[in-house]
Every structure is written in C-alpha cells, then in structure tokens.
C-alpha cells in the first residue's frame, strides 16, 4: 500500500513539473543564402536535448522546448552546417540562411550530409525515395535529356515499361496507380512523344519525393505510389539564367527578383526542334511533330509569417501532317495533347509558431484533340479532364515529441471523353456526338501524428477518410496508416509500416499499346473503387565513414477491385467502356535493397529488387492466377558519378531487368464464317502472360566537361552514349520469317540501338 502511495506521489510531482515547465517555440524558414530558395528537409536539432525536426515542403521548421538556452544546429546536404545559440524565454522567430559548400571536391567534411544520412535512419518514413536534383542531372539518359522519371526507374521497387519511355510501375502496381503531383496539382499525362520524355523539366524542379509504401495520411488517391514534385521558387537576390542546348531539344530558365528578398519569379521553357532541323533538308515535312512545355512560378513574402505562391505548367505535344498542296486528296491529320496546371498557395505561420498552414487552390486540365480530313470529310475527336480543387494542410507541433498534421481536400473532376465532330459524307457512318459529361467530387480528410514515444521508439499513426460522389453514388472509405521506427543505434534502425490506399479514378487504355489518348474515368455504380493494403518492414543503416545509406525493405501488397479489360476488348471511341471491364484482385511482394552515396568524388547508388506481381480475374485466363504485365523477377541498377577533376566528370549506369511476361500466339485454325461464305484464320494464344521476353540490360555513359568554371558565365559540355554495347532492349515483338523459309519465329526488337548525344549547359 505504501509503495502505491509513493508511486502516486511521484506521478503527481511529475505532472506538476510538466505543467509548470513553460514551453516556448523557435520557428522560421530555412533558405539558401545565395538565391533565397527555401530548403526542404533541412534538419534543425538541439544536440543537448537530442531532439530535432526537419523543414517542411516550404522550408518551415518549429521546435518547442522548455525555457532555457539552447544551441540549434541546421544541417543540409551540400551546405555548411550552421549553429545558432538562442535564449528561449519566449516564442522566437529564427530564419536561417545556409551557405552552399562550393568546394566539395576537396572532400571537406560536410556535417550536413551526416545529418541527412541519419535523418533517413531516424525518421519514421520508409519506402520513400528522395533524389537530389543535382544527381538527376548527372544520370546519363536517352538523347541527353535529363529526366527525373527515368532516374526513378533506376531505384528499387520502380520498374520501367517499354524501353525508353516514362511509364512507372511501383511495387507491382500499374502506371495509373501513381499519383503525380506538381506543386500539389495532379498531372494526368506525364509523357511527351508517346512517353519517351517526361513532362517535367529538371531545371524548374527543386525537390522530388516518391512514396512506395507506408504512405503518410496527407497523401491518397492512388494505390501504388505518390510522386510529389516541387518546383523551384526563383532567385530573389539577382537575375540569372540557365539552359541547355541538346540534339533534339533545348531549354531556357530565367529567374530573378521582382522585389529583392520579397518577391521572385522563375520561368522555364523547353521545345524540341527535330521537325525544324529536318525541314531544313526536306520540304516534305518528314517529321511533323514537336513538343514544348513551360513552367512558371511567382512567390511573394507578404510578411515574416505569410507567403503566397502562384505556379503553373503548360505543355503540348503537336503532330500536324498534311498532304502537299498538289495532292488532290487534300488529306491531313493533326493532334494536340497536353496538360495545364495552376496552383495558388498561401502559407501562414501562426503567432504561437506551433501551427503552420498551407491553403492551395488547384486546377489541372488534360486535353487531347485528334483531327483528320480527306477531301470534304473531316473528323475531330476531343477528350478532356478538368480538375478544380481546394486543399488545406495544417502542421501543429505542440511539443518537440509530436508533429501533428491534418487537413482536407475537395476536388471536382469533370470528364468529357470522346466528343466527336464529323463533317461530310463520313458523318453518315460516324455521327457527331457531344459525349458524356461526368461530374465527380472527391473529398478527403486526414490527420496523423509523428510521435517520439521513447528515445528509441518513434511512431507515425494516422487516418484518412476519403470519399467520392459520382452520379448519385457515394463511396467512402477509411484508410488507416501506421509506421514505427525502432532505433538500434545512432546509425541504424528497423522500421515497419502499414497503409491502406483507395483509388477513385482509373485509366482506360488498351494493354497492347500506351497512348496519350488513354482515358481517365471515375468509378461508377458498377466499377467500384480500387483499394490496396500494404505491409512493409525494413532495416536502415548509415555507414558514417563511407557516407553511404543502406536500406533493405520487404513488402507485401494486396490489391482489390482492380480492373482489366475483357479479352478482345477494344476501347477506341467506346463510351460504353464499362461493359469492357472486368474486376479482380492481385498481390505483389518483394525485397528491395538500396545503397546510396550522395556526396564525395564518387556518388551514386546500387539498387536491387526481387519481386512478384500476380493477378486473379474470374473472367480472364479461365479464372487462373497469372503474372501481371509488370512482373519482373529481378531488377538491378548501378549508377555512378565520378568527379575526375574540377573540369571533368564521368557518369555511367548499368541496368538489368528480367524479361516481361506476354501472351503469345502459338497456333491457329481455319474457320468458315457463320454463313459459310468465307474462311478466316483464327488465333490460339498461350494462357495469359505465360511467355517471358528476354532479360534486358544496358550501359549508358555521360562525360561532362566544364568549359568555364571561374567566370560568372558557366558552361559545361555533356557527351553521352545510350545503350553503349548496342543490345536490343525489348520494346516490340515481331513475327519474322526464318531465313531458310521454313516458317516464322518470334523476335524481340528494340527501338534504340546505341545513341550518342551531346548537350551544352550554361548558367549565368
């Protein structure tokens, strides 16, 4: 009894102490001293308390401690760490400007890198890839066009589709199971030129994060991944420009202050010009295609606590071909495909500094027009999606132990698929039609807390309530999220996570080819929302001496209410697409390993994935389980950048991927038509995805020469070779006659052999 009384007394004393201790908050923004760009993921820590936090997506941090004097250390990869001593007797605003470590070649120990490496180990985040933009620019790519999605394809758990394209298949999920956000706005079509180039211009991008599992509750809407891309804000100190002149495209980025230290802008444009170059040598318009895109952003600091941002993306793929003037056919075909996004945001840090919010107004449009004419006949087919939404995100840090996030999203989708306009005699057979207008509202609420339970155990728990209303049918679902980290040592930890995701939109396309004209549709009364449940666990270690981060993760994912297309489905101009869909489920599981070194003379990563991905649809493949088309057993990539001297550096990547599954035609038979008036040859296929293509592997190299390094004008040459040893990368399958005329055989052919590239990058 006495022992019980003593315990109660101690508890009361602790409570009094806790209540009596006055907590204050130090908060502010962290930015780059050189150009004022806010820095995301900077660690702000108090070594004496062994507590810290990281700046959010807007460079804002807040630390709440009992009154006292503390030393706060700010660390960031590639920047010189900064220490600030503060007397915390009231709430303090402390904006920090970090100085870039411009002399990394001397292997100066950048403490920031240690903290970044440790941050990955000590946070509850898992299954998250964060790639420095500088590294993205160094990875050799097709035609020398740096491309963030192709770099992500080299990471564990992310598989590529057709060779050279920007399709992304994450942990056994489909390409339409990735939510791609550009400054909060969803981007529906991420590829130019049938997907060979992504729509993201790396010169305008500041931060890229890919979540493959253990999703924080502020993200939702797709089953397999979230790619969160943030655009740069622009230099608020001085005007500057950078650009690139390449073989097929060039880009230019201009940025500068509108009001110094208060308001800045950035505008970045890109265009291909192969059409113009070829037209110099031929009047026949042999390559009537080009694409262009434009990113622009303005940000304004209203006060120390308020910032507003306006950012936009506009891109188009244009194909315009017509018969020559003398041609009596007067025929032509035109196609315009593109995205347009606008995001307006307002950040506010509340007076008590513990609360921060961001309100976003979002618009995202995707549209394609395809038109053709022959003589007096013409056809125009249009499809579009219009999204208009509002999103509110709050971050609240009551104590240093809790980081609470909550918010809401309301988004209205308008779908206008297959609007057809015909003129001339063809209208007798293909009538003009307005198409269907489908309105759909998505509403979601979320909340989660990142909580330091003990010095070793940290958990992140949250819940997302998502819902959608379409044609008087309401779907709603709870999406629990959980992640936990247990610290083994300062440099190692184990983590585990669970996440449920819901998806209320799906992409209707043919599996045979992927086109920008594939259409997005919302769920309907008959087509239910997809859902996924994923558990994952991993071991994380930071090798401090080598500056290497190691992560090893396993995952298992259950996918429900997936849709596929019936055998023989054809979806071109098919408004009754629902009748072509079948519903099923899938599983995917695997092991992923990543060793990543982001600094020093030698940087890069090694990634390996061992994975399985299956599908079961009662109406496909006679109900038997089959490998999904994204199933690849092994994926391996090694990416390395070596700085030889101040002027020279070399990058290389070697990638290996097991063969993709496909369905082959093995037999055929003669069959009279139902009237017995003609004969057809009908195919017999293997069971679904029963045959494997060959494994693909490829080596790419890029050599960089910095022609000017000491003047204000900086230039660098890139000499690259893609697919150096000229191996066929599986991109198409053909049936080819045997050389001895004994029949035919299946052949795998690649689109690209070895491709050289040269590009000149400049900055002033």
């Amino acid at each position: 009894m006495q022992r019980f009384k003593n315990s109660i007394l101690v508890l009361i004393q602790l409570l009094v102490l806790h209540l009596g201790a006055q907590n204050f908050t130090v908060s502010g923004y962290v930015s780059d001293q050189k150009d004022g760009e806010s820095l995301i993921g900077v660690t702000a820590s108090c070594p004496s308390l062994k507590k810290g936090t990281a700046t959010n997506g807007y460079g804002y941090y807040a630390l709440t401690f009992p009154a006292g004097t503390y030393e706060i250390v700010f660390n960031y990869l590639g920047y010189i760490s900064q220490k600030q001593t503060i007397l915390l007797d009231k709430n303090i605003a402390l904006n920090v400007k970090l100085i870039e470590n411009s002399n990394q070649l001397k292997e100066v120990v950048v403490t920031g890198s240690d903290s970044k490496g440790k941050q990955q180990v000590q946070s509850t985040e898992m299954a998250k890839l964060n790639i420095p933009i500088e590294l993205i620019r160094k990875v050799p790519t097709l035609f020398g066009e740096s491309d963030l999605i192709k770099v992500l394809q080299l990471m564990p758990g992310v598989k590529r589709g057709v060779e050279g394209t920007t399709g992304m298949y994450v942990r056994g999920g489909g390409n339409d199971e990735n939510l791609i956000l550009l400054d909060e706005a969803p981007v529906y079509n991420t590829g130019h030129l049938l997907g060979f180039f992504s729509v993201f211009n790396s010169n305008s991008i500041k931060d890229v994060s890919l979540y493959k599992g253990a999703f924080p509750s502020q993200y939702g809407g797709r089953l397999s991944s979230i790619l969160d891309i943030k655009m740069r804000e622009g230099n608020d100190k001085k005007f500057s420009a950078q650009g690139s002149i390449g073989i097929i495209a060039s880009n230019l980025t201009i940025e500068g202050p509108i009001l110094k230290d208060k308001c800045s802008f950035i505008i970045s444009g890109r265009r291909t010009y192969l059409d113009k170059v070829i037209n110099l040598f031929s009047k026949q318009n042999l390559f009537p295609y080009y694409f262009y895109d434009l990113n622009a952003k303005i940000n304004y600091k209203l006060s120390d606590r308020d910032r507003i941002y306006l950012s936009s993306y506009f891109g188009r793929d244009v194909l315009s071909a017509s018969s020559s003037g003398s041609d009596s056919l007067n025929a032509g075909i035109n196609s315009f495909v593109g995205n347009f996004t606008v995001t307006a945001r307002w950040n506010h840090a509340y007076k008590n500094s513990k609360l921060f919010h961001n309100i976003s107004l979002i618009q995202s449009n995707f549209k394609y027009d395809i038109s053709g004419k022959v003589l007096s006949n013409s056809v125009l087919v249009t499809s579009k999606i219009q999204d208009l939404g509002v999103k509110a995100d709050f971050q609240y840090k009551p104590t240093v132990l809790h980081d609470i996030k909550f918010g809401a999203l309301l988004i209205n989708h308008l779908f206008r698929p297959n609007v057809v306009s015909t003129q001339g005699d063809i209208s007798k057979f293909l009538a003009s039609r307005e198409g269907t207008k489908i309105y759909n509202q998505e509403v979601s609420f979320y909340g989660n807390d990142d909580y330091d339970v003990t010095t070793k155990l940290k958990i992140n728990y949250g819940l997302r309530l998502s819902s959608t209303l379409v044609t008087n049918k309401l779907y709603a679902g709870l999406e629990p999220r959980f992640a936990a980290k247990y610290k083994i040592s300062e440099n190692s930890s184990v983590k585990a996570g669970y996440a449920r995701m819901k998806q209320y939109l799906h992409l209707v396309s043919s599996s045979a080819i992927s086109l920008p004209t594939d259409l997005w549709y919302p769920v309907t009364k008959n087509v239910k929302p997809g859902s996924s449940d994923q558990v994952s666990a991993g071991y994380y270690r930071y090798l401090e001496k080598k500056k290497i981060n190691l992560s090893a993760e396993v995952y298992y994912k259950w996918l429900n209410n997936l849709i596929e297309y019936r055998e023989g489905a054809n979806l071109i101009l098919n408004d009754n697409y629902e009748s072509q869909l079948v519903t099923g489920k899938g599983t995917s599981y695997g092991f992923e390993l990543l060793l990543q070194k982001n600094e020093g003379k030698l940087s890069g990563w090694i990634s390996y994935t061992l994975a399985w991905s299956n599908r079961t649809f009662p109406e496909l493949n006679s109900g038997r389980t089959y490998y999904s088309k994204f199933d690849r057993r092994h994926d391996f990539a090694i990416v390395a950048n070596y700085t030889i001297s101040k002027r020279w550096s070399i990058s290389a990547d070697w990638v290996y991927s097991s063969g993709a599954p496909f369905t082959a035609r093995t037999s055929q038979y003669l069959m009279p038509n139902p009237t017995f008036t003609s004969i057809d040859i009908l195919p017999v296929y293997t069971s679904k995805n029963a045959i494997r293509l060959h494994a693909s592997h490829r080596l790419d190299i890029d050599i960089t020469y910095k022609s000017r390094i000491y003047s204000k004008y900086k230039g660098e040459w890139h000499f690259g070779a893609y697919n150096v040893y000229n191996r066929a990368q599986p991109s198409r399958i053909q049936i080819v006659q045997n050389t001895d005329n004994t029949g035919y055989h299946y052949e795998e052919r690649g689109i690209f052999g070895i491709i050289y590239s040269v590009a000149y990058n400049f900055q002033f």
Binding site: S667, Q668, S678, V684, N726
Partner: protein
C-alpha cells in the same frame, strides 16, 4: 584523359556500325487439334467443316518469297477422311464428304429444342472430338424495309428492320448480310477471295430491346454495284455461339489484333477448337436494281 575519350568515341562508333541484334523468343510447340464449325440451311441441310489446327509460325511463303497461304496451303489442313456423325432424337446420320474438309447431310431434320450431338473421328491422326447443341426456334423479321439514296459520288442503301423479342427468355440474334458474289465455300472451296464479295455479320442480344419489346436496327451500306443482290439472314442463336461469334469478330479484325487484348475463342468442342451450333435461319433476298 584525352585518350580515354578518344577510345570511348572510337569504340562506340564501331559498335554503332552494327545493327541491334534481335533476340529470338522460343515458344512451346503447337499442339494439333481438330477445328469444327457448322451451318444449318433450310431444307434439312447440315454442313460441318473439319480442319486441323496448325502452328502460328507455319510457313506461308515459298522459296521465292511469294505468299502461298492460299487454297494450296489450306488443303493440307483440311481433314478429308473424317467420320462425321450427327445424333438427335435417337437417330444417327453420317455426313457425306461434300468437298475437302466439308461434310454435309441433306436429311438432318430441324427439330426445335432437340439436342444434337456431333462426333468427328479422324483416322489419320486418331483425333476424336464431340459437341452438343440445341436447335433453336426460327425467328422472322417483324418488319424490314429499304431505302436507296443517291448522291453525286455514291449510292447508299439504308436498311431498317425490327425483330420481336420473346422477353421471357434470354435471346441472342445473328444478322448476316452478303451479296451474290459471296458463294458458299463448298462451291468454291477455299478459293481466292472474290474482290466483289461482301459479307457482314452483326450480333444482337436482347439487352437492346426497346420498350415495345422489339429490337430495331438501321444500317447504311455503300452500294458499289446497283445491280447486285443482297441476302439478309436472321437467326436465333445460343448464348454460347453468340459469345463465340463476338470473340470471332474481334479475332479476325486487324484493329483488334493490333489494339485489343488477345482473345482465346470459347469453344463447345471437346478437346478441339471452333463451335458446333444448330441455328435455324430465315432469309430475305433483295434485288438492288429494283429498289
């Protein structure tokens, strides 16, 4: 460093002189099976086609590179010495060989709702298949009329018809249009296609029945020859045959082969391909010159 770059450039230039070598994919061997189809013609005629399946990678060109996937090559896949029998209502008829791969009997009674069992045995390969089918009731056009529309450049035939659907049952219909050039295959077995031949098969389910219990259809055709004859055939078919024909229509069209999902056609042939169906069609013959 210069040496490294020169070596790299020279090596890659040499490599680029060679084309990317295609990779050969090995497929499992094709298994030979019998492929069956049938047609019922008014007048108690039942015709059955019997052929062998063959590899999708079969040679179709001769040593000169000419396409020989024609009547000559077809012959080797036709089953010429099969025993084909049809059993129904306690009676078995043996079908006679009408042409290579075609067997027929003019004495098969068309008994509505009777079950018909087809047996085929090929002594050359020892392959044996069987299938069952129920003879469905004959249906007629509820209404059928035509319009001819002439413009300066072409002539269009507009066909309007309706079919009264029996709502108490799940019904499926096949409507075929063909001209006089589309002669039956047993008259000109597997001959080269006649350029003037016109054949179109359309399928309807009673999901498109209107409020008055009728399926109403409007069709437009360009008429290349105004003196031609058009035959329109209507048949009430089983659900299984409807699904087979739906898949068939997709399988033999290039656009579906290029853009659609692969289709393995359903079959009611035990250990074989194709479909045995006993529908009972009605016909309408239209002399286009008299419209």
């Amino acid at each position: 460093m210069k040496h490294v770059i020169y070596s790299f450039v020279i090596l890659t230039l040499v490599a680029s002189c060679t084309k990317t070598k295609p990779l050969i994919i090995t497929l499992p061997a094709s298994e030979q099976k019998l492929a069956i189809s049938s047609v019922v013609i008014p007048g108690n005629i039942l015709a059955v086609s019997v052929s062998y399946s063959f590899s999708a990678l079969e040679n179709s060109k001769d040593s000169m590179g000419n396409n020989v996937f024609d009547s000559t090559l077809y012959q080797q896949f036709l089953v010429s010495h099969a025993l084909v029998t049809i059993s129904y209502n306690g009676k078995t008829d043996t079908l006679s060989k009408l042409a290579p791969g075609i067997y027929a009997s003019a004495g098969v009674l068309q008994l509505v709702n009777a079950n018909y069992t087809l047996n085929v045995y090929d002594s050359a390969t020892q392959l044996r298949v069987f299938a069952n089918s129920t003879m469905l009731q004959k249906v007629n056009f509820d209404s059928l009329y035509f319009e001819k529309e002439k413009t300066a450049s072409d002539t269009t035939l507009k066909i309007h018809f309706s079919v009264a659907d029996n709502l108490s049952e799940e019904n499926y219909y096949m409507v075929s249009y063909f001209n006089s050039a589309a002669s039956p295959i047993y008259n000109s077995v597997f001959s080269n296609p006649n350029k003037n031949k016109f054949v179109l098969v359309e399928l309807y389910s009673d999901k498109v029945v209107e409020a008055d219990g009728k399926i109403k259809v409007d069709k437009n055709f360009f008429i290349p020859d105004e003196n031609d004859t058009l035959i329109i055939e209507l048949a009430n078919i089983s659900k299984g045959y409807y699904e087979f024909l739906s898949a068939y229509k997709k399988s033999n069209q290039l656009i579906y082969q290029l853009l659609g999902e692969p289709v393995n056609l359903p079959t009611n042939i035990n250990i074989g391909y194709g479909y045995f169906s006993t529908f009972n069609p009605s016909f309408k013959i239209v002399d286009l010159s008299k419209l």
